[in-house]
Symmetry: C2
Subunit: 316 residues, 2 copies
């Protein structure tokens, strides 16, 4: 599927992929080289990994995390996969996600660690959200961060890599600027340092690559990926910022990467290392309060469930 008789910007063979942000066109092979190089560049630029380091990849089964896993292995890192099943919606999205993750593990001949969030928490996201009168997305995000971190530490990994790409990060940055969330802005950096036994180091090696570039890459690799948005993301506002960034990028190619990397450049330095001396009295994970958010969430959910049970008993 050659585009308009165009030639690859690297090797002059027929090009299959157009990358307007870089004013480039690539054949399948050179697109792969480009994707690897951009990941390598991000890893160096933001001190993500040392050569050959062990790293756990959060694999959802979508194109981004699958690409990330393969690229990290190709770059010589000892990357293993972690699939955290979320059990949202009707199950089909979850099934496709798991299948795509497992197929990738087979192709890469790399270990994939399976976790289930509802099992770990003892409750589904919806029950926890109801019991704590919080939005589904905010609860899901909080739980995901907690259990991904916990699984990473339990498996003995010091670094957790996620498939967030340039568009994700730029949309988040735009949202934080528009809503003036200074605390989130302070933390916006593609590498967040860890603390032994408390926080895995979090890295986003795809932060220089656009979503469309990773889509082309996944297509060129012939992968079957889990497609579609989360069935429960209706209330989320991030997609609006994603849409705004995409529109600006379409009208002015290169806007996204200049905006995001330029913002980091102006900022100059990563956020300070987390200082978390205190621990949650319940789960032992780092916490500012005596009891961490998750344990508070779960306690409220247990209370609500027992109240419900008592009410049922009274009726019976």
């Amino acid at each position: 599927m050659n585009i308009d008789g165009m030639k690859c910007s690297r090797c002059r063979q027929p090009a299959q992929h157009r990358l307007p942000s870089h004013n480039a066109r690539f054949c399948d092979k050179c697109l792969g080289i480009f994707v690897r190089r951009q990941a390598e560049k991000a890893i160096k630029q933001f001190d993500m990994l040392v050569p050959g380091q062990k790293v756990l990849v959060a694999v959802s089964g979508g194109k981004d995390s699958l690409a990330l896993w393969q690229v990290l292995l190709e770059l010589g890192y000892r990357a293993e996969g972690l699939h955290l099943a979320l059990e949202l919606g009707d199950g089909k999205f979850g099934e496709a996600s798991l299948e795509a993750s497992q197929a990738m593990a087979q192709r890469l001949e790399a270990p994939l660690h399976l976790f289930n969030m509802a099992e770990m928490a003892g409750f589904g996201v919806q029950e926890i959200a109801w019991a704590n009168k919080r939005s589904f997305c905010s609860v899901c995000g909080t739980l995901k961060r907690y259990y991904l971190n916990k699984a990473c530490l339990d498996l003995g990994f010091e670094v957790l890599a996620t498939g967030h790409h340039l568009d994700d990060e730029a949309a988040r940055l735009l949202g934080n600027l528009v809503r003036r969330h200074q605390r989130y802005l302070d933390n916006q950096w593609p590498t967040l340092e860890g603390a032994p036994g408390a926080f895995a180091k979090k890295i986003k090696p795809l932060c220089r690559l656009r979503g469309a570039e990773l889509k082309s890459y996944a297509k060129s690799q012939g992968w079957s990926v889990a497609k579609g948005a989360c069935p429960r993301s209706k209330g989320a506002t991030l997609p609006y910022y994603t849409e705004a960034v995409r529109m600006l990028e379409e009208r002015m190619p290169g806007t996204t990467i200049n905006f995001y990397l330029g913002y980091l450049e102006d900022k100059g330095a990563p956020p300070a290392k987390p200082e978390m001396e205190a621990r949650c009295s319940v789960c032992g994970m780092p916490s500012f309060a005596e009891e961490c958010t998750i344990c508070r969430f779960l306690e409220n959910t247990r209370k609500r469930e027992s109240t419900k049970r008592d009410a049922l008993k009274d009726q019976g």
Copy 2:
């Protein structure tokens, strides 16, 4: 034209206008009250004018500047109009702009001062842009600011009011954040202090009102306004940011005003007063360099024109 049997949020009469950002609906009369109150609020909040003060309104003939002029008079300020003819495009846009401005002056029984930018400069914008190898829009903007300021000082006014509204300011803010133009961000404030004999004080009393709200207001007043975008604005990028802001506002009503006013609130204080001791050796207006940008622009244009004349003579 009542909307869906809705009642005015203020007086409970049938409502004609919907203002999603404020979760309100208004009848014609109450919309007028709302517009005046928002202007009054901005004038107080950002120290724009003292009661009854003399102010010159830059009147383009579009809905925003017409609304501004009327509202300032209604609020008791001694507002006169200034129409700076730009002579862009085929003349029709310019004619409609002048006519709408003159019709408004008659309705308000207020003086309208007429200026012509090409006459003041001695050249059209296009010639100056060519001679200085600059984009049309950037040259037009620079000239407009210079001659509006000059006209204001020549007419003996200390304050110049322009019809920029909330969407304009939010789009400009977004563009400056995305492109990280720190110098422009530093100056983003709806009031810019003047300096006697050098700079008129610049104020934007409509900065709390959305474009759509002013459109409803103009419609409710039955004005014929100059419509459409500038015929030469093809290369401008501001409209893309305007589109992005509008999209975010549609999805999340109230985003624009929270973004813009919140940004100003976080900033806390207006920019420092301009310190311009030096004057242009040619025109005597304030300038950092020995010769100001405008005089340099005009000199380059004169040079280019005389070279062209010489070339024609040689051929002849």
